[in-house]
Symmetry: C2
Subunit: 324 residues, 2 copies
Amino acid sequence: MTAKLEKLVAGLRRGEPASVGRAISVLEDRPELADRLMEMLYPLSGNATVIGVTGSPGAGKSTLVDRLAFDLASNGRKVGIIAVDPSSPFTGGAVLGDRVRMNSATAAPAGAGQIFIRSMATRGALGGIAPTTSDAIVALDAAGFDVVIVETVGVGQAEVEIVRTCDTAIVVLVPGMGDTVQALKAGIMEIADIFVINKADHDGADRLDKEVRSVIALVEDPNGKRWVPPIVQTVATEKKGIKELASEISKHREWAAKSGALEQRKKTFLGDALTRKIGEQLMQRFRGQADYEVWMEKGISELAARKKSPSVIAAEILSFLDRD
Amino acid sequence: MTAKLEKLVAGLRRGEPASVGRAISVLEDRPELADRLMEMLYPLSGNATVIGVTGSPGAGKSTLVDRLAFDLASNGRKVGIIAVDPSSPFTGGAVLGDRVRMNSATAAPAGAGQIFIRSMATRGALGGIAPTTSDAIVALDAAGFDVVIVETVGVGQAEVEIVRTCDTAIVVLVPGMGDTVQALKAGIMEIADIFVINKADHDGADRLDKEVRSVIALVEDPNGKRWVPPIVQTVATEKKGIKELASEISKHREWAAKSGALEQRKKTFLGDALTRKIGEQLMQRFRGQADYEVWMEKGISELAARKKSPSVIAAEILSFLDRD
């Protein structure tokens, strides 16, 4: 098995799209191989810039990300895109996403950096969306992509968490959809390092700009030590504002590296990743015990009868299985 | 402490809104008391019907839920609403939600059942949104609410998971926003027990209806054993279609109880809750060990230096701390 994985990693290091894709599939679907693969990929990673993009559905995130990737590739950078799709076994959401987009983004300028796109449909698996996405980022990073863009399709707690941990978090809004209020409600305003007002040629763009500015003003730091998120107006379909966006991303990255904010964010993220792994391994061990299934069955019946609360039953199961 | 909690539970049993609110706050913010409170509430719960509502931002979910609650209350039922807001320390999302809505929904018809609304801003805490929401459902259930409506503000993996575990899952779509494709992408079509097309007086409602029907046709069961989600057209702002929606909810509930689907769903949900608690307690114990902090610090440094992968470091920490 290890020989096969070594071959896969070699292909990935050469930047072969098929190998990169297969590596991500292993991380998604083959938990028994995923740990071993991560062991091999991890030491090769740590160089990519990771950009997160979120915003309400219909904000034109896909087009924006495509254009941004194209612009970065024109400047010779290798760009990997991960589109985070919530689980959809029934609709095959990932396939849909791939099909809709492959055309525009893979047509990178001749002689320029490569663009790779991958939709992640995480089928509500064990660890959920966040861990699988961060593993996929490591894979693209190890494959030598200079920039990894993570784009969320859904807007929820898990998705916001993913974007929050990227080096630079971009929140995309559009005029005329009551978007500020919706974004406020969804808790995504606060994670923005950069705001994009897309479809800026639509009515209401200036009003939205004003609204966002007033929200930013609430967190502005009189000492000037905190980052103040800039607002970039774009019309992604016409490639307007993309260069400005790329430039703001560089500026934020520079500031974050110099101020220590980047290191701090990475530390928090790594700590969370480690805690999650410890939790997984503790649980795995626990599941491996002989009477686990029997006790779970019994516990669920007691819960259904509302005899005891989940934490009481959990404690009982733990103390029993510990005695062995 | 227990005496205080007993007083709180007594108030909650009398249906006092202040006590219900305080109980939910304890479950949200006071982990050291939450387990004990859940122990007291759990045996009192298990009677409420739980309805989940999701759909893209701007679909008019809040208004729809308000109208539905009002209709149910008019028929003498006590209704509790939980609006699931992703974490927002900065904007105070929950406060916003409460303020915007309290007016309409609390003005329940005289002599009718009570309506209680609560926004949950879970501040990205330990367990995340899902566990806190299910605890809050237990609290409302124990307080004697006949119906608990859970409405998500965000649309992501965590939110879809919450709605999926409710007795009846409602997906709200609106015409003219490319909503079917967005919903497909977000993986929410598959969880619907009932589809609502809100703002059905807008252009494109019939086309949307057709699109949804074609999606439903994909999963229709020739043997007629599976539930086929009905489509209800509503104009929530004008209270149109609300009675039809209430009636479809009853029909689904009846079918689910008779077919055994409800019991199956509850079992899965309880199993997940129990597993989660076991995981939490295992982790808690582990965190309590003397050298935990030291080992974590060391592990994060190794990760940052990309020496080893998270799973390798996790295994090392586990094996070391086990030796004690």
